[in-house]
C-alpha cells in the first residue's frame, strides 16, 4: 500500500508538465486505444471482478459507457483497482483518466484535489451493520461499541461527528482496504461495520452467513457518489459528465439496449436529437453523432445499469429510492440534450 502511494507521489512530484498544462485527455485516450479507469478493489454492485476476471458494477459501467462513446467498444478499458487512500493521487498523477470508484462528492474534494466531480451515479448515505445476536435495533444504542471502518473515507469523519453529536463513546479501528475491514468485523474485532449503505448490503454478501447480520435503519450522512476527472480539461469533463446524463436521458425516453435501433428510426424530434440523426451534439463533445446510441448499446440506460448491478436483477436487490428518475420520485435528473 505504502509503496503504491509513494510511487504515485513521486510521479506527481516529478510532474509531467505536458499532462498538467493544457491536457488533451481525449486525444491521449484515443492514441492509447484504451481508457484507463480507476475502480475499487472489489465492491460488489459497484466495481468488482467476477469469477472470470471481468469487471462489473455501476462504476464499471460508467467506464464502459465512456469507452463505448469513444471507441464504440466498451471493452477498451483498463481497470486500475485503487484503495480509498490511493485513489486521488492516482488521478492527480495521470495514472488514470477517470476515477469511477464509489467516491463521495464533498466540497473539499471538489476544490482542493485538483479534480472535479462530473455528476452523481448513485445517491447513498452512511449506515451501520451489526450482528443480529447483539439485539441492537438503532444506531443510538451503540454507545461504547467498537467500530470497523475503512481508512481514507468520508465515513471516518461522519462516524466521529455522529457519535460526538449523540454524546456516545466508541472505539474506531481503521483498515486500509475494504476486505481487511470486513474480515476484522467478521472475526469479532468490532461490533459494528460502517460504510455507505449500499456498501453494507454489498459486503454482507461476502460474509459467511449474511443472515446473521443486519443493517440498522439510520442513515447518518449524505453520500452522493460520482466519477471524478482532473482539473484543466473541460472537454474531457464534458464527455464524462454527459455520458452519465445520456444514460439518464435514455431511461427517461424509454430507450433501452434492446430497442435503441428501432427508436433511432422513429420520427420523434426529441429522439432524433438525442440519438443523433438531428443536430451534432456528439461532435461538439468531441465524439460522434451517434454517441448516445453507442452508450446505450454498450451498457443500456441508467435504469438497466442500476437493475443489473445493484437493483432487482442483482443479488443486492436495493430499491431505486433516491436513485429513481426525478419524475418517479427520485433525484436522478439530466439537463436536456438540445
Amino acid at each position: 500500500m505504502k509503496r503504491v502511494t509513494l510511487a504515485l507521489t513521486l510521479a506527481l512530484a516529478a510532474g509531467l508538465s505536458a499532462e498538467a498544462a493544457d491536457v488533451q485527455t481525449l486525444k491521449t485516450v484515443k492514441d492509447r486505444g484504451m481508457l484507463s479507469c480507476g475502480v475499487s478493489q472489489g465492491l460488489p454492485g459497484f466495481s468488482s471482478p467476477d469469477d472470470k476476471g471481468n469487471w462489473t458494477g455501476i462504476d464499471v459501467d460508467v467506464c464502459r459507457a465512456i469507452a463505448g462513446a469513444i471507441f464504440n467498444d466498451p471493452t477498451k478499458v483498463k481497470y486500475v483497482p485503487l484503495s480509498a487512500k490511493d485513489r486521488f493521487t492516482a488521478l492527480q498523477s495521470g495514472e488514470i483518466d477517470v476515477l469511477s470508484r464509489n467516491t463521495t462528492w464533498t466540497i473539499s474534494r471538489d476544490t482542493s484535489l485538483g479534480a472535479n466531480f462530473t455528476g452523481v451515479t448513485y445517491y447513498d448515505g452512511q449506515g451501520f451493520m451489526v450482528k443480529k445476536s447483539l439485539k441492537v435495533n438503532s444506531a443510538l444504542e451503540l454507545n461504547s461499541a467498537s467500530v470497523c471502518v475503512q481508512t481514507g473515507t468520508t465515513t471516518e469523519q461522519n462516524l466521529a461527528d455522529y457519535f460526538k453529536a449523540n454524546n456516545m463513546k466508541y472505539e474506531v479501528i481503521a483498515f486500509a482496504t475494504n476486505d481487511e475491514t470486513v474480515k476484522a468485523y467478521e472475526a469479532g474485532r468490532c461490533d459494528v461495520f460502517t460504510t455507505d449503505q449500499s456498501g453494507l448490503y454489498a459486503n454482507r454478501l461476502k460474509l459467511a452467513s449474511p443472515n446473521d447480520h443486519m443493517v440498522l435503519p439510520e442513515i447518518i450522512s449524505k453520500e452522493p457518489l460520482g466519477p471524478m476527472v482532473r482539473h484543466g480539461d473541460d472537454q474531457w469533463f464534458d464527455i464524462v459528465k454527459w455520458t452519465l446524463f445520456a444514460m439518464i436521458t435514455a431511461e427517461e425516453l424509454g430507450v433501452t439496449s434492446k430497442n435503441v435501433d428501432e427508436k433511432a428510426k422513429l420520427e420523434n424530434p426529441e429522439l432524433k436529437r438525442v440519438l443523433g440523426s438531428d443536430g451534432n451534439f456528439g461532435e461538439q463533445l468531441g465524439l460522434t453523432k451517434d454517441w448516445v446510441v453507442r452508450i446505450v448499446k454498450a451498457v443500456g440506460n441508467y435504469g438497466e445499469v442500476f437493475d443489473r448491478n445493484v437493483g432487482a436483477g442483482s443479488p443486492l436487490a436495493i430499491n431505486r429510492g433516491l436513485n429513481n428518475l426525478w419524475n418517479k420520485g427520485g433525484l436522478q435528473y439530466a439537463p436536456p440534450i438540445r
Binding site: 500500500m1 505504502k2 502511494t5 509513494l6 504515485l8 507521489t9 506527481l12 512530484a13 516529478a14 510532474g15 508538465s17 498538467a20 498544462a21 480509498a84 487512500k85 485513489r87 486521488f88 493521487t89 492527480q92 473539499s108 474534494r109 476544490t111 482542493s112 484535489l113 485538483g114 479534480a115 447483539l134 451503540l142 454507545n143 461504547s144 461499541a145 467498537s146 470497523c148 481508512t151 481514507g152 473515507t153 471516518e156 469523519q157 462516524l159 466521529a160 461527528d161 460526538k164 466508541y170 472505539e171 474506531v172 479501528i173 481503521a174 483498515f175 486500509a176 481487511e180 475491514t181 474480515k183 476484522a184 472475526a187 469479532g188 474485532r189 461490533d191 482532473r230 482539473h231 484543466g232
Partner: protein, 401 residues
C-alpha cells in the same frame, strides 16, 4: 654550488585539492563541482515543476493543513486526542504509536534473538535443533504474512467481551484486547515516586563504588542487601507513612465493551509479536556469528580458570563478540522500525496509517505528507544508527581495540 631551496606550494590549496579531487587533482575538483551543479539543477527542476503543476491543477499546497481539524478518531493514543484536534496532533499521535511499537519490538527481538542464538550454540542437541528450526521457519516467511497470521490467529482464539476470560476478576482478555486496572494517583504518589528515584540513583552510585573498589583495590563489596533495601524497603516504608500512592480503577463490562481500566489493543499485540519474533530470527544469526567469531581458545581459557560455561560466555566471549554484533544489529533495529509501517494492514494506528493514510486522503496533500513521513522515518533511523554507533564505539574502546 648552492641552490635556493624551492618554495613548497601553498599547503591550503593542496589540502582543498586532495579533499575535493582525490587522486585526480584539479580535474577531479572540476568534475565534483559539475556533478554537484547537475544534482542541484535536477532537484530545482523537480521542485519548481511540481509546484507549477500543483498550481496549474489547483491542488492545495503548503503546510497550512496541519492546523486544520482532523475530524476523525484514533483507537490508540498516548497523548490526549479527540477528533477536533489538528492534523499536526495526528502526526504526533501516529509517530508515538510507531515509536512505542518499535521500541517494545526492539527490546523483545533482542532478548529472543540472544536466547535463540545461545540455544543454537548449545551443546544440547534438542535445544540447538529447536533454535535452528525457529530461525529457518521464521526468517523464510514474509513478515506481512506473519503479521496477518498473528492478528487473525489472536482474534480467532479469543472470545468476545461478554464472554471474556477473567484473570482473578481484575484483568480481562477478549478479542478487544487485554484490559487491566489503571492506576489513579493519590496523595502518597509524590513522596513514593521521589523515594523510588532516590533508591535507583543510590543503588547506581553503590554499584559504581563497588566496581571501583573491585578493579582498583581488588576488594569485593557485597552490595545486594543495601540495593534491595533501597529499591523495595524505602518505597514500602514511604507507603506506610504517607498512605497508598495510587488506587486502581477496575475495568467493568458496560454495554459492548469494558469501561475504565487501561487497554492493550490486539493490533498492538499482533504487530509486536510478529515484528519481534521475525527480527529475532535475524538477530539470532548475527549473535551466533558474533560469538563464533571469538576464538575458541577464549572459551577454553575461561574453562581452565574454572569459570562455568555461562560465566565464560557472559564475562569473556560476549563482550568480545559485541564488536562484531553491533553493526549488523543496528540494521535489524532499523528494519524493525521500518517494517512497523506494515501496521496499516491490521488497523494499528501507526504513522503511515493515520498520517500518510487517513490524513493524506482527507487533505489530498500527498507531496507534503509523504515528504514529512519520509523525513521522520529518516530521522528515526539516523538517530538509532547514531546511538548504536556510540555504543559500538564504547564496546570497542573498552576492549582496547
Amino acid at each position: 654550488m648552492s641552490t635556493e631551496a624551492r618554495k613548497p606550494p601553498a599547503q591550503s590549496a593542496l589540502k582543498i585539492r586532495r579533499i575535493l579531487g582525490g587522486k585526480a587533482g584539479w580535474n577531479g575538483v572540476a568534475v565534483q563541482f559539475a556533478f554537484a551543479a547537475i544534482l542541484g539543477w535536477i532537484g530545482y527542476e523537480i521542485v519548481s515543476n511540481a509546484r507549477a503543476n500543483l498550481e496549474n491543477q489547483h491542488i492545495a499546497a503548503g503546510f497550512g493543513f496541519l492546523r486544520n481539524n482532523a475530524g476523525f478518531d484514533v483507537n490508540q493514543t498516548l497523548i490526549p486526542y479527540t477528533g477536533s484536534d489538528t492534523f499536526l496532533r495526528v502526526f504526533v499521535v501516529g509517530l508515538l504509536n510507531t515509536l512505542v511499537v518499535s521500541v517494545v519490538g526492539i527490546v523483545f527481538a533482542t532478548v529472543i534473538g540472544f536466547i535463540v542464538a545461545l540455544c543454537r550454540l548449545s551443546p544440547n542437541w534438542l535445544l540447538s535443533r529447536v533454535g535452528e528450526i525457529y530461525v529457518e521457519v521464521i526468517r523464510n516467511l514474509p513478515v506481512l504474512f506473519q503479521i496477518l497470521f498473528w492478528y487473525l490467529a489472536v482474534l480467532a482464539a479469543l472470545p468476545n467481551p461478554r464472554q471474556s476470560i477473567s484473570l482473578f476478576g481484575i484483568a480481562f482478555i477478549s478479542n478487544r484486547g487485554l484490559v487491566v486496572p489503571s492506576p489513579i494517583g493519590q496523595s502518597g504518589l509524590v513522596p513514593f515516586l521521589a523515594m523510588l528515584v532516590f533508591g535507583i540513583v543510590a543503588s547506581l552510585a553503590l554499584r559504581f563504588h563497588a566496581r571501583r573498589a573491585l578493579f582498583q583495590e581488588g576488594r569485593m563489596i557485597r552490595i545486594w542487601p543495601y540495593v534491595l533495601g533501597l529499591l523495595f524497603g524505602l518505597p514500602v516504608a514511604t507507603m506506610l507513612v504517607f498512605g497508598l500512592p495510587f488506587t486502581f480503577e477496575l475495568p467493568q463490562l458496560k454495554g459492548f465493551n469494558f469501561a475504565g481500566g487501561s487497554r492493550i489493543i490486539p493490533e498492538f499485540v499482533a504487530l509486536t509479536v510478529a515484528l519481534s519474533s521475525y527480527t529475532a530470527a535475524f538477530i539470532a544469526e548475527i549473535v551466533r556469528a558474533g560469538i563464533l567469531s571469538v576464538h575458541k581458545g577464549q572459551m577454553e581459557a575461561g574453562a581452565s580458570l574454572g569459570l562455568s560455561r555461562g560465566a565464560t560466555l557472559r564475562l569473556i566471549v560476549v563482550p568480545q563478540a559485541m564488536r562484531v554484533i553491533v553493526p549488523p544489529l543496528t540494521n535489524q533495529y532499523l528494519n524493525l522500525t521500518k517494517n512497523s509501517s506494515l501496521a496499516v494492514a491490521i488497523g494499528y494506528p501507526d504513522l503511515v496509517s493515520v498520517f500518510a493514510g487517513t490524513s493524506l486522503s482527507q487533505t489530498g496533500q500527498a507531496i507534503e505528507i509523504i515528504a514529512m513521513t519520509m523525513g521522520i522515518y529518516l530521522l528515526i533511523s539516523l538517530l538509532t544508527s547514531a546511538v548504536m554507533s556510540v555504543y559500538g564505539w564504547r564496546v570497542s574502546r573498552s576492549l582496547g581495540a
